[in-house]
Symmetry: C2
Subunit: 476 residues, 2 copies
């Protein structure tokens, strides 16, 4: 059963009418929004002007796209139309206000752009319970199940609850106090933190990063409702141009004539083992009959734990990997996935995969121990490293996604390059963990030749050097 | 959504061929196994000889039953045919042996009779992971999802694992060392107790009764496989005649011409509030157009926590309730549900409901805080009392079951009887909890007239008197 929906043959999704991406207005908009530093302008112009390729097995001339359908059939977009914004600002001033943390804001962003389609706002209790118990949510009117493994919820305290009373609508402020959104037809229900943590992480041990950061000190209530965001959420950190929405990504895949999109989720620097895997996946997809598989290299951009490499450093590193030609810019899109990280292993990997369906990916590469970490209080992995891909391949609502299990790559000391591990000569292989990689970079040591492209490695070394420069020595 | 599949109109399930219950051989067997003390012989003879009633909306003469289909389409029966038993005994002597606890044996019983259909044995890892993460299991070949909320697993220790090695088949012994079953094509996988507990109970707090009893000291491995039970499992406690299998229950429902079966799960004595609810449910089903709704009064008979009333006392109490005419023996079947109790609230109530589908029930009555208990270390309910019925009504794989939420009954001090709570005169109502009821019985006090039939109450008083007689006074 675990392999039941691996590597199904190419499928086409038929859209009877012209998609937005194929209208010239939409095409212009997309091109404008894709001032993407990882694609040099020549490549951008080339891809933008390339006509849509004819599709395999096209059944009629109305087929405009082979992209997978978003969950629930239509991509959710919760950003108000520009002509409504003034009125919404006036309305927002008169409503009870709830202040969001940065992580809450990241979730509002995720919701607003439809990564969590068909969710239309922070979860009400009915959605929360389904997510917590079943990792999936039932569509109305017998529409089946969609995957939804993480509770996307907003916690409030007693004072907020009292202030809201039975008013139906609430203004959501960002961390700086600015108006971000209106939450409508709200429902307030108890936030049983212990149960939420136990069912999401499979442990209640102290020291889970997301729990410490967002749950432990959060309020005892959750507030759900329909979200209406006043304008696109931006962080003004110099990286917003990387934050393509699911619709923008779909437009770009369409423009490039993708007949398969394979997503690679990561929150670490890209080494040559990752690149080997991604390039090998493309080769396999071509062998399967796809003509133009596009890679979505999709680093997670929301909250990560303190010892992960920060997003700006990772983006610079990814940029070098494309500059150095390790990945092909013409068949790769680098974009930021705006979700915060839970480190919830098999539960979270479903969210990572599901969100990429909404962005148009029909293939998802899953590695060893996805979204895993060490147990916070015991000397072992928190999750069985194989459970992530097993759970993912069986998850309700993900049947339409092709799961590609990660082949293990390691440093081949004979060939002096990253290569797929060959158990028949295991003594030739060196496994370089994330921790080992960080230790090399911290100590200014070089990893073996061929582990990572030199430009990418330099970004990491510079980052760790800058950290050490900041450390004030403790008095002896 | 929570009410999407409440109270759908009567449906008929068509079986194209004659069911076993309608053959005279099966009929004889059923009648013989139903030497049921709660039905006096006149009634038994009456029901046994009554012809099948014509069905409403019968579409052809081949319709033999209106019972709901078991999960997976066919009821699982893992008891070896009598002519195979001698050979199995010989084979069993040559295999590695694993000793089961009494609770393991209860699960083997549950599996053997098909309560957990379509499961064919203790869970392998693939089933375990789906149960733990999704509370449901995917049928092969696109057959959809069936509910499976509790992991039905068998734990073994390192020594057992070493002894088994890579042998495919294992003999399962009962607590007394006798051969019970062979487990075939076994798979041994890690028993991550913390994760199992957290995801099943939504807490890892110490003091969960089932955890203390069966998990904490259990082995670090789980062994799954296909179960072949040598002969029907019996406990020789004087109550085996109450333990009707799902097939026996289906045969009995067929024989009585049931066109609706409504199940009432309980692990407490029946008071007149319960009876009011059950009788009222029958009235509502008649109003809906059913002609012959049958009540399955189905006390849980496996492991329960120490302060619950023991099974033999409960069965005697239930017997008095029928003798005293509080429930109608002609439209009621009392039988024991052999499952152990997890006290896992919303997760467990799905199991309770799902198992009754397999026994032919298409209506399930769900109360406040089903399978709930107090939090083991905090002064609160472990589960939100409303979550059980909410989760049940949304659970994947239970769409075909009609969920009947429990109306709250309390003692009406004006009418001097148990009545449905009327919030407009709440001051007239007295809520008598299980704890209060037990306190009355322990202290030899009588509850208010009309709370419970006198015969049933006497059973409880006698039980608590017998307990006190056993208590040796502590030295002052």
């Amino acid at each position: 059963m675990a392999t039941a929906h691996l590597l199904t043959p190419p499928r086409l999704h038929h859209h009877p009418t012209t998609t937005p991406a194929s209208s010239s207005a939409a095409r212009l908009r997309v091109t404008a929004s894709l001032a993407h530093p990882l694609l040099n302008s020549r490549l951008r112009l080339t891809t933008a002007s390339r006509p849509l390729r004819p599709r395999r097995r096209a059944m009629s001339t109305t087929v405009r796209s082979s992209l997978i359908d978003p969950d629930g059939g239509a991509l959710v977009d919760l950003v108000a139309a520009p002509d409504r914004r003034a009125a919404l600002r006036v309305e927002a001033e008169q409503l009870p206000r709830v202040r969001m943390s940065l992580i809450d804001l990241q979730w509002a962003h995720v919701l607003a752009e439809g990564w969590a389609s068909p969710l239309r706002g922070f979860m009400r209790e009915e959605e929360y319970l389904q997510s917590l118990h079943f990792n999936c949510i039932r569509l109305p009117d017998g529409g089946g199940l969609v995957n939804m493994s993480l509770p996307i919820v907003l916690a409030i305290g007693d004072a907020d609850k009292d202030q809201i009373g039975d008013k139906p609508d609430v203004t959501l402020e960002g961390p700086d106090g600015g108006v971000v959104a209106i939450l409508r037809r709200v429902e307030i229900y108890p936030h049983n933190k212990e149960e939420r943590i136990a069912r999401t992480w499979g442990t209640t041990a102290p020291g889970l990063p997301y729990v410490d950061e967002t749950i432990t000190s959060a309020g005892n209530w959750l507030i759900g409702g329909d979200l209406e965001v006043l304008e696109p959420i931006k962080y003004n950190d110099g990286l917003d141009h990387y934050r393509l929405s699911p619709q923008q990504l779909r437009n770009e895949f369409d423009k490039r004539g993708a007949d398969a999109v394979f997503a690679f989720q990561l929150r670490n620097p890209v080494h040559n083992g990752h690149a080997l895997l991604m390039n090998d996946t493309r080769r396999r997809l071509l062998e399967m009959g796809y003509k133009n598989p596009i890679l979505l290299l999709h680093p997670l951009g929301g909250y990560t734990k303190a010892d992960d490499v920060p997003l700006p450093v990772r983006m610079e590193q990814h940029s070098k990997v494309l500059e150095d030609g390790v990945l092909d810019p013409e068949t790769t899109i680098v974009s930021i996935f705006p979700s915060p990280m839970h480190y919830a292993g098999p539960t979270e990997v479903q969210w990572h995969a599901k969100a990429r369906i909404n962005a148009g990916a029909n293939f998802y590469i899953v590695g060893r121990d996805p979204a895993g970490m060490g147990h916070p209080t015991e000397k072992r992995d928190l999750y069985n490293p194989d459970h992530g891909k097993k759970v993912l391949s069986m998850a309700p609502g993900l049947e339409k996604l092709n799961i590609l299990p990660f082949k293990v790559a390691a440093y081949d000391t004979v060939a002096k390059e990253m290569a797929f591990f060959d158990p028949s000569r295991s003594q030739d292989f060196l496994f370089i963990s994330g921790t080992k990689m960080r230790t090399f970079a911290k100590n200014g040591e070089n990893p073996p030749d061929g582990f990572m492209c030199p430009g990418g490695w330099k970004v990491l070394v510079d980052y760790y050097n800058s950290l050490q420069a900041e450390v004030v020595p403790a008095p002896v």
